[in-house]
Structures are given as C-alpha cells and as structure tokens.
C-alpha cells in the first residue's frame, strides 16, 4: 500500500509540476479561456460538475463530496486537437491539459475533506509568423514567435458535512494561482545580414483568495439538486521575471461564480443531468472587455451494461458557453460541444472502489470578428477527457 501511495504522490507531483498546456487563440484575449475542472463523467454530462447523482470529482461545489467513505485520488487528463480558421487561413494544433487533480479524505461518516488542483483560465497560445521588415532601408526576412505559456489554476481545500442523509453542505477555500510566461522572439533568417536574433520574455504570477459555499439535496431518492457560490478577492498579477524593462504589477477584478445543477433518475438504469454556471471572471480593462458569462449543459447516462460489481456506463451530453474576454469592437466568443462518454466503475455508485472514464467531445469556439478579422476566429476541436479515480479500502 505504501508503494501505491508513493506512486500516487508521484503522479500528483508530476502533474502539478507540469504546467497545464493548452492552446486556443481565444486565450490571446484578457486572462484567457475558461477551463472547467471536471472529471470525464462530469465533462460529458453537461459540464457543470454540480448536482450529479453518483460519484464525480469537481471543485465547483464542496458539498458534492458528501457520501464518499474511501480515501482516494482523481486525476484527469485532457488531450485536445484543434483546427483553426481565421479569415480563410487554417492551421491546427494538438495539446494536452490537466483539468483536475483531487485527493479525497473522509474524516468521519459525515465529514469529508478534499484537496484539489484544477484549471480556471488558460493563457497558452503561440503564433509564429514569417515576414520581411525594413531596417534602415534594407529589407530583411524575419521569423517572429510569440508564445504565452501557463494560466490561472485553482487550489482548493473543500469540506462537506452531511446534515441529514439527504442534505449536505460544503465549504471550501483556496487560491487562484498560477504563472504565465510570455516570450517574443525574432529570428533573422538571412545569414548574410549580421543581426543577432532577438528574444525577450516576461513572467508573472497570479494570486487571489477564493471561497465557496454550497449545498446538495437529494429529493425522494430520484433527484439531486445542488448549488454553490464562489467568490474571491481581487486577482493580483506580480511580475517575477522581466528581461526587457520594468513592468508594473497589476490588479484585476474579483471572481464570482454561481453554479447549480440537478440530476434525475429516469429509471433504474438511466439518469439525466443538467447544469448552469454563471461567472463573472476578473475584469481586465485597457481595451479588453470582460463580460459575465453563462454556461449550460445537459446529458444522459445509461448504466445497463454491467458485469457483477462492475458497471460500464455510457453517456451522451452537450454544453454551450460564453467566453468572457474580447477586445472592444470585437464579437464576443462562444463555445459548444457535444460528446460521448464511456466509463468503468468498480463497486458502489456513490462510493466506488475505482473509476475510469473517458469522454470524447466534438465542439467549436467562434467569435472575435471585428477590425482585426472580419470573419472572426473559428476553432473546431476534438476534446478527449480521461479520468481515473482510485480509492483505498
């Protein structure tokens, strides 16, 4: 068992140490693209991660922890393949992010705690451009690279308490935190021109306190209602490395989120789930608009495929959401996806011994039409979410 714990710890450390890596050109706006910190089951069943019957991992509502009686760890991995269309110019990229890592620790049958690390806003993108520049009357070919790596993650310590067998409340607190490094480089590709290449970078760190309260109510053994509010202090950005010039630290607005969701058993083997999340992401200013966003989603789960204590759920779902950031004069962005999920569960649905889930989503993001691009930016993506939850006896 000790070996297993060690390996688990290694998994966590490796994942936490590795920066979440994702790429969307929508992340060039404001503080980036929202990342939902969910496991594969919640991702397919509407994407809110709130109010799902059965075990799932999410940082949105601490009350959702109630009912678990085993220590365990959940890790989610999300490879994404995108094709990008910008005014007829196309390119594609593949990338991977880690939307969620979570450790559950039941303290007693009523009280459960969890430490989680998940995504919040992703600012990873990179653009390379070949062009020519006039330098002192000489036309010089150049290759420019602009790359942004990192984003804002959330680290939360959540706890839930079962007031009654059907009603649980939860509270959580933590930090929005993360690092972003931006790099700009110019390579002079003509070796006959004696010009050294240029590279500059800046790295900064984000920090803001956040707290969440939530509740979960099981109704008549066939439905579950859940809601949570997360609020935080102003998000502060501190420059920690600057190779070009002094850049002043910045402060942004405070995050606020209301998430609600519900699920209903349509029969002994079928569950329907849906959720809505309203977000006010930290405001940016300086020509960047920050709007309040809504994300909605719903899904169905069928659990008829079983073998002894093992179940192999099949899920379908869809979600739609608004993207928070865009420049003044641009069309705001939005995204949608529809997906299919498969799972493997060993043991009790509410308190399983092991879970392995995979979700495949096809979706797109669009928006940002304006002066820079008349047709706007369109990203089509395949998003795979793999999650694994392991529990001790």
């Amino acid at each position: 068992m000790m070996t297993s714990r060690t390996v688990m710890a290694a998994v966590l450390l490796a994942a936490v140490a590795a920066p979440a890596s994702a790429q969307s050109l929508f992340a060039t706006r404001g503080l980036g693209v929202p990342v939902t910190s969910l496991d594969a089951r919640a991702a397919i069943l509407g994407g809110s991660g709130v109010g799902l019957i059965g075990f799932h991992s999410s940082l949105a509502n601490p009350a959702e922890l109630a009912g678990g009686f085993r220590r365990g760890v959940t890790a989610a991995l999300q490879p994404v393949t995108s094709s990008i269309d910008l005014d007829g110019a196309e390119d594609g990229t593949s990338t991977t992010r880690f939307p969620l890592l979570m450790v559950n620790y039941p303290i007693n049958p009523r009280l459960t705690a969890a430490l989680g690390f998940g995504g919040y806003l992703d600012q990873s993108w990179g653009v390379i451009q070949e062009s020519t520049r006039d330098i002192g009357g000489v036309t010089v070919p150049v290759t420019d690279l602009l790359r942004s790596s990192g984003g804002i993650a959330q680290i939360k310590l959540n706890a839930s308490y079962m007031l009654t067998p059907t009603l649980a409340v939860g509270i959580g607190g933590g930090l929005l935190t993360g690092n972003v490094e931006r790099l700009a480089s110019r390579t002079f590709t003509d070796t006959s021109v004696v010009l050294s290449n240029f590279e500059a970078s800046i790295r900064w760190r984000y920090k803001a306190p956040v707290a969440t309260i939530g509740a979960r109510w099981d109704v008549g053994g066939v439905a579950r209602l859940s809601a949570a509010v997360t609020a935080g202090g102003d998000l502060k950005a501190t420059v920690v490395g600057d190779s070009i010039s002094s850049t002043e630290d910045r402060s942004y607005g405070a995050p606020l989120q209301f998430a609600t969701g519900a699920s209903v058993r349509l029969g002994p083997l079928m569950t329907a789930a849906g959720g809505l999340t309203w977000d006010r992401f930290p405001s940016v200013g300086n020509g960047t608009e920050s709007r309040e966003t809504i994300r909605v989603g719903a899904g169905l789960e069928y659990e008829g495929i079983r073998s002894g204590l093992r179940a192999y759920p099949v899920r379908v779902g869809a979600r739609w959401g608004q993207l928070p950031y865009y420049l003044t004069g641009e069309e705001p962005g939005k995204e949608w996806s529809a997906g299919l999920g498969l799972g493997f569960r060993l043991g009790n649905p509410q308190d399983p011994a092991a879970l392995a889930d995979i979700g495949v989503e096809r979706g797109s993001r669009s928006g940002l039409a304006g002066t820079a691009t008349s047709g706007g930016l369109n990203e089509k993506l395949w998003r795979f979410t793999l999650s694994l939850s392991l529990f001790a006896n």
Binding site: A15, T28, G30, T96, G126, F198, T288, A354, L377, L388
Partner: protein, 418 residues
Amino acid sequence: MKRWCLMACAVVLAGCTQDSPLSVGDVLLPGESIRTFEVILEPEQYLVYDTAFGLYSEPEDANFVLFARGYGGALTSRALVRYDIPRTITVRSTGDTLKVDSLPRYFSASIRLTIDTVASTRPVTFEAFFPTQRWDRATATWTHRIDSTGVRLAWAVPGGSPSAVRATAVSNGDSAVLVFDSATVAILRDTTDSNDGLLIGVQNQGARVRTLLPSLTVRARSSIRDTIVEQVLAPVRTFIFTPQLGSTHTALRVGGTPQWRGVLKLRERLDTVTVPCPDRPNCRVKLGDLSLNSASLRLQPVPSPAGYDLEGDIDIAVHALIPDPLVPLQRSPLSEALTFTTAAIPKSSFLAPNAPVVDLPLTSVLRVVLAGPDAADFVPSSLALLPAGGSATFGVAQFQAMPRMRLVVSLARELKLP
C-alpha cells in the same frame, strides 16, 4: 492497484509536451508585436573623444624594410643595416676534423632584397651607400642618427649621411641582389670605421618598395685550406623616412610604422542614453531597455597622408583598453581582440575622398556596455582600433574623426501583462 497507479503516471507524464505555435493568428495581436529599427548615434551621444597614437612597433621591430624616393610626392625612405661579420670561420681540414680559421679572407658579399610589395610597376633600382656616421638602431630617424633621451645627434646630411654609391641592383620582378666587393666587405667588418653598416635606398623617383629583411651573404676563402665558406647573416636594421607623421593625430588612424592605434573613449552609462521610439511621437526609450541586434562603428575612410597609403587591404580589430590610473592612456594595456571587420577594407578606400563607409562590428562590445555597469566584471570604457592579427603595415588607414555608431535594436511591444 500498482498497475493502475503506474498507468496513471504514464498518462500524466505523456501530457507534458510543448505545443507547436500556430502559423495563423498574428492579426489578432494588436500592433506590431516586435519592432526592430535602426538607431544612428551621433558621436556626441556616445563618445567623449577620439584620438590616435602612433607610438607602437617602431621600424626596428618591423619584419620588413621600406624603400622610397619621393613616393606620393612626399615620402623618401632608406634602410640602415648592420651585420656582425665573424672574425673567424670554421673549415673542415684533412682527416675530417673541424678547424677554426682566424684569418679568413672575405672576398665578396651580397644582399638579396626580396620584394614584398611594390607601389610602382617598373623595375626598381636599389642603391647602397655607407652611412658615414654611426647610428643608433632604436632611435635613428631621417634627421637624427641618435635621438634618445639625453643624446640627440643629427645626421650631417639628413637621410643617413650617405657616402658615394657602393653598389646598385635592378629588381628582376620579385628580388634584386646588391653585390659588394672585398673592399666594401672589409669596411663592413671594421667596427671601428665611421662607415657604420650600409644605407640602402632606391633610385627611382616616385617608387616605394617593401622588402623582406635584407640578409647579407658573405663569402670567405680559408687561410688553412683551399675552400670557400659562405655565410648568411641577419641584419641589425631599421629604416628612416621623411616626412614623419608625429605621434598623435585627431583623425582615427590604424596601422603604419610606428603603428597607429585609434582610440575611442565611450561615454559612461550608455545604457541610459535615450533615443526616439519608432513611430511614436514624444516618446523616448533608453538604450539599456532595448535588445541589441547589431552595433557597428560607421568609419568613413579618408585619404592617407601623402606617401602613406596602404600596401594592401587591411582588417581591423577592436580591443578594449584596460584602464590603469598609473598608466597614461596611450600606454594602457589591451584586451584580446573583441571583434573584427567582417571583410578586409580595400586599400583603394584610402586613396581618394568619399570612399564607401566601413561598418566595423561592435555588437559584442555594445551588448556588454548596454547591459549596465553591474552586468559584467569588466565593461569596456575605451576602445582601440588596431590592424587585425598583428599584421604590420607602413601605410596608414585613416578615418574621419568622431564616427557615428549604427545600432539595430528590437523591442517587444506587446510583452506585458493583460
């Protein structure tokens, strides 16, 4: 359980990859993200002063000698040579033993003048005289046979007080041989004679010839047995010329003999010098806040002094002067060469006005300077321009004083917090 954990490890670690940047999307970024532009620094922006010192590598140290007569309408130069002709010779006697012969009879001698470069196309006629006065190799000049501290003796006749001509030789392409008779050799051997060595010049008006060091070949007949011994003797030499260029000059000079060193004293804290931002009125940016892509001194060649044009193309190296408060600037030690011209500067650049400007690379030097005083243990404050590779010239590369400096710099405009 272990298998699941190991699988999880593998899956997590597989995700630790770096994305490839996209070839689309630059239009989404406001403005030109990276700006590269040219900055021309006027001399008063980066220089305290410039000067040139002609104090180094005197003629007696050169690996050549120079002959000229009215070259460029001005330059005349002669070589002074002295040979230590041995009192004895060693011969192989009967029985294959070596014997020292203290009474050899020198009956002839010759000097081969191997031409290195020549600034006239026709054959050159060399002529040899005795300098009729004794001279000091280290201090002899056109006007003075000794010009040392405390002793200053002029030639009776400027230019080496020549005797009557003792030998002449016409070059046959790449060399000429001056042949001397036994009487001349006897005088050369006589260290008490006032005729001190040889004085060699050229007869052709308007000629300038540079040769390798003139070795003397002497031939002696042994008094012990019937044999002839031939020996080649290296010279004690210098060359004297007129006009001389002095030891300091306001224009930048490089090369020559004595060697000129162009010196540039940089302003302190060049990183704080501000220049206009590109395309933004009422905006200035410090050089230290810009990223340097290249830096070069814009050297404008000007015609060399009459008679002092370069023998060949010249490469220039930039050294840092290592300051020492106890040592005058002109005697400051030099660093290793920091940077060089990218191509040899044609000698034709110094023959007429308005030659093309020469960009002498200074990128590595300026990178250290613009990083500020704390960025390196040694930040060059004065630079010296010398012929690259220690190559010796007689001609002088001359450049207009107070050159401009050209910088190409970059800045990242959008590298900032959202």
